[in-house]
């Protein structure tokens, strides 16, 4: 196929642009520094992931210990019935839905868009669900805490630090989880919105 004058002009134009474009780019060698940082960041990600798993395992262990120690007291069974399924579901989600995050980076744009959209939607759903579940646990804990305080009022009056430490820790953990999931869900929402704006461009193409 022979080229017309317009094709030749277009090729010359592209060659000029390529020459100019490929003249850009610094000569600094970032590679070793980038890899060192990536290794450090990768370790941080692993630690953060391990912390989440350990937190779930810790609360599971505490539940089992309380069940054994109270010889299956009703209030402990109710609490464990709320906490244990949540932990199980969270760990399942952790080891399945999020496993391929980085592998998706090596996919073509269309696949990447689909995978990212699914990841953002799943994570948002999980954050909302985790907050609702934590709120439910908090609501269930209040009457239990009042009942425990009432039953052991003499001991807690003698040693009030036990009440502050025990109930304070529970309040802090629950409030922390609710606040974290709220902030995270909002961030994911903003990211999903911005992603959809850019993706709309990609999908309209050509």
């Amino acid at each position: 196929m022979t080229q017309g004058p317009n094709d030749k002009a277009a090729d010359a134009e592209l060659s000029t642009w390529r020459g100019e474009w490929q003249g850009l780019g610094g000569s600094e060698d970032f590679a070793a520094h980038l890899v060192a940082r990536a290794r450090k960041d990768g370790r941080k990600l692993k630690l953060a992931a391990a912390a989440e798993v350990l937190a779930a395992l810790f609360s599971t262990t505490v539940c089992i210990w309380l069940l054994a120690r109270s010889h299956g007291a009703t209030e402990v069974i109710v609490m464990a019935a709320l906490i244990l399924p949540f932990n199980g579901a969270w760990l399942t989600h952790f080891f399945t839905a999020r496993a391929g995050t980085f592998e998706a980076m090596g996919a073509g744009v269309d696949d990447f868009v689909a995978l990212t959209r699914r990841r953002l939607a799943t994570q948002r759903k999980w954050m909302a669900q985790a907050r609702r579940w934590t709120t439910a646990i908090g609501i269930a804990i209040v009457p239990w805490a009042v009942w425990v305080l009432y039953m052991h009022r003499e001991a807690y009056t003698r040693e009030p630090w036990r009440a502050v430490l025990g109930f304070g820790t529970i309040v802090l953990i629950l409030a922390g989880v609710v606040a974290w999931t709220y902030v995270k869900e909002r961030k994911l929402g903003a990211e999903a919105e911005a992603f959809e704006r850019h993706v709309a461009d990609v999908q309209l193409a050509p």
Binding site: G25, A38, L45, A205
Partner: protein, 177 residues
């Protein structure tokens, strides 16, 4: 936590080599998506982390360069989505990275001006066109671009034509302003 954890053990030497061999194309790609020095450093690092984490899953179904470019384009898309909107700070990148081969200051200045216009035009393109034009300017064929972006050659051909038409207008606008 929005990120998963790396699965396979990654060979640091291999990642370093890939990044070193593709340093300049990667730097240009980063400049096409991020304007400020800080944003470029962040994006560069995110690409390196994504490569470091994903390389364990690389099965050699494409070249390392294609794999890196895919990662870089995907990461850039996530990056600009996380930032919400482009940062409209001063464009000083081309001034820093421009190659100054000419001895005559007037020639150097003219060359720098043209490269500034080219980079500004690339940045002004919508993302689907920017993706194609950055790869086209790197010298990739339509087939290779389709491989990087995971789409068809026909789609790339149409996008490339539109991107080039838009580039012409943007460069002329830059020259006349």
């Amino acid at each position: 936590m929005s990120s998963g954890t790396p699965r396979a053990r990654t060979d640091d030497a291999q990642v370093t080599r890939i990044l070193r061999e593709n340093a300049r194309p990667l730097e240009r790609l980063v400049a096409a998506y991020a304007r400020s020095d800080a944003d470029r450093a962040d994006l560069r690092q995110e690409v390196a982390l994504a490569l470091w984490s994903a390389l364990g899953a690389f099965r050699g179904d494409c070249s390392e360069r294609t794999f890196l470019l895919r990662i870089a384009h995907n990461r850039a898309l996530s990056f600009i989505a996380k930032r919400g909107r482009p940062v409209d700070d001063l464009d000083d990148h081309a001034d820093r990275v421009v190659a100054t081969t000419g001895k005559n200051p007037a020639v150097v200045y003219e060359r720098k001006e043209r490269e500034n216009r080219l980079l500004a035009a690339v940045r002004a393109l919508p993302i689907p066109h920017r993706q194609v034009i950055t790869l086209l300017l790197e010298g990739l064929s339509h087939h290779e671009i389709a491989d990087v972006l995971g789409t068809t050659e026909n789609n790339i051909a149409v996008r490339a034509n539109r991107a080039r038409a838009a580039m012409r207008v943007l460069i002329e606008e830059g020259a006349s302003s």
